[in-house]
Symmetry: C2
């Protein structure tokens, strides 16, 4: 497998965690986002959305969109499972994952921040406020969902690591990029602290990747 990655990409972080949990070691290719490599012809041929992650299977099949990749990895490498078995529990896990991966993260990716800056002349503090705002909106919702449910356990869904936890780890890293404090969201913070004890999460962290700075 080939993984197209960049240290800072939160969507790629999700896939790195899943690959680690499944015991898969891909060949990693850097797509330097600040240099705009994702928009160059070679990569646009791989993923026409010009975004990472992208994963190329050994037979050449190209996969993209992080949640689609997570489900694929879970279907093709079932152990350990990243989703519970019961449909209602699966729906809850996917909904938590999508609050992050659909309702929040797409708002703060490079192409959106660049469009705000170039098209609407929003300055750097204005763009930081944008990222901070959307993180806080979803952290508040996630705290309500997680703190208010008996389904929540050691992790988002009972005591099994799922794609919800994978997305939550990414949300926590994104919060640090945009100076959103986790302290007002104690259940979120507790679960993030818990998953970061797991080696598969810890070594997938953005700041542990080649090219990453010491802090953001």
């Amino acid at each position: 497998m080939k993984l197209f990655s960049f240290w800072r990409s939160l969507a790629t972080y999700r896939v790195r965690i899943a690959l680690n949990l499944k015991g898969i070691t891909p060949e990693v290719f850097e797509v330097n986002l600040p240099q705009g490599k994702q928009r160059e012809a070679d990569f646009a041929k791989i993923n026409p959305m010009m975004a990472i992650p992208a994963l190329i299977e050994d037979d050449g099949t190209v996969l993209f969109e992080s949640l689609a990749i997570l489900e694929y990895l879970d279907e093709t490498h079932p152990n350990p499972p990243l989703l519970p078995k019961a449909p209602k529990a699966r729906a809850r896990v996917r909904a938590i994952a999508q609050i992050i991966a659909a309702d929040t993260h797409p708002l703060i990716v490079p192409r959106v921040r660049e469009f705000l800056a170039h098209e609407y002349k929003i300055d750097e503090p204005g763009v930081l406020k944008w990222g901070n705002h959307w993180h806080n909106v979803s952290l508040k919702a996630l705290e309500t969902v997680l703190a208010g449910s008996r389904e929540t356990g050691r992790y988002c869904q009972g005591d099994q690591v799922t794609i919800a936890d994978i997305c939550l780890a990414g949300q926590a890293a994104g919060a640090s990029y945009f100076k959103a404090d986790l302290a007002p969201f104690p259940t979120v913070k507790r679960i993030v602290d818990e998953v970061m004890k797991i080696d598969a999460f810890a070594r997938a962290h953005p700041l542990k990747q080649p090219g990453a700075p010491a802090t953001v």
Copy 2:
């Protein structure tokens, strides 16, 4: 089942199509988005993200996030299936769905347009340009993905209706809201025209819902 819906909501449109395809008729409750009913306490208790759709199962279980609901409906009501069987085909279908439901639609929902207007003082033509831009970005990517693949058939994935087609129908409706022309994207347009011949799609259309205007 209870479905919380509003005529204009594209995410709810997806769930309406799936319910129609599965032969399920829910009790429908309007959540008036322009009136901000999604932010009132009664609804925020149902979905802390304060967004529709939300679906309440007969046992009281609350489901939200449209793609999580689609997968749930497919797992609990398997006929007709909304995903193919092979993992790679499933990953392709989910990726197409997520280009729309994760990379595009979350950028143009009411809360984001309202934040652009209130926080950054972007005027109505500026917000329309925003919606138009993101639709065109993803329509271009979708056309490349669909036109360039032998997997594409009568619908996005062969000749079986999937969640990719459901999301594509929503994308087409969204394009009309933001004056994005489908003509430069002939494969997208062909598939949209094809699915709109299906009754389950046609009667789920935003403009067919109670309270909808004659045109947008």
